[in-house]
Symmetry: D2
Subunit: 93 residues, 4 copies
């Protein structure tokens, strides 16, 4: 079980939209679209990717981390340490 | 002419790598890969997109904005105002 | 008890350094320091603030959220929802 | 002359507000304010610092970079390269 099991269809739908956005950006570059218009689409795709990340991270906290803490033992602390590292990567990316 | 004309092949190569990364993320979600591993790949794809944006923006300043300022007249200021707005979108995304 | 109780002295030390950085930026503006040098210091102060935020958020997960989940009941879910919202604000700022 | 000369008073006013925000965060930590409330204020201070950075960078492009390009010679390209590096630092911070 992964944290996003209940959300999987919605996450896949969002990811396919991001794929479409990214392919669209490649086509814009191929056809030499004006720089600023390409940048606007890159900003939009970046925001869409970050929104998926927020969803996955949130569901991970609500399910995987919560479950590990409820189960007791060292795995709860390990899952929290792992989530902290993932949050730092997201904030920096 | 666009600012990234000289760089077009390199930018396309980078964008195709980003496309591959994003498709890889979709497949990870389809096969229910562990949340944290998906997040790591989203962070990597986001950084790759931002790197393309930095390249396009930089070339836009070095070519399109520079040219408009050299040509004189109101177009230089318009191009600078447009670039400022694009930078704000990138910093916020 | 707050999540950063054990870390309080270290957090305060970091915040006093950020205060010094921010006052330094004000003085740079007062004395009309070259724009790019001011921007470099703003980037450094922003990174320092984000590092404090990462520390506080991490300790909050490791202590407050963990404790609420261990205690059982609806407060665990409420604390997780609150942390998710805080992470979104940090990623966007 | 610096790019923000005309804006200096407004920039100083904003920086003094950021100083107040940062001192407020230190006091919140001293009095052991709830973690999430401290994080909310750090997000606000970070956004305020980034807004000052956007203003300084924008005025730098509109004045210093523009002037160097208009003057002709290698200094225009040097100023653009320097601005590109500053933008990268801001996007990453």
């Amino acid at each position: 079980m992964v944290g996003y099991s209940d959300d999987k269809d919605a996450v896949l739908k969002r990811m396919r939209r991001v794929e479409g956005q990214v392919r669209g950006i490649t086509r814009m570059v191929e056809s030499e679209t004006y720089c600023i218009d390409v940048l606007t689409q890159i900003s939009a795709a970046t925001r869409a990717l970050q929104a998926v990340a927020m969803e996955l991270l949130g569901e991970h906290l609500s399910h995987c981390v919560k479950q590990a803490v409820e189960d007791g033992g060292p795995d709860g602390d390990a899952k929290i340490a792992e989530a902290r590292a993932a949050i730092e990567r997201l904030v920096r990316s």
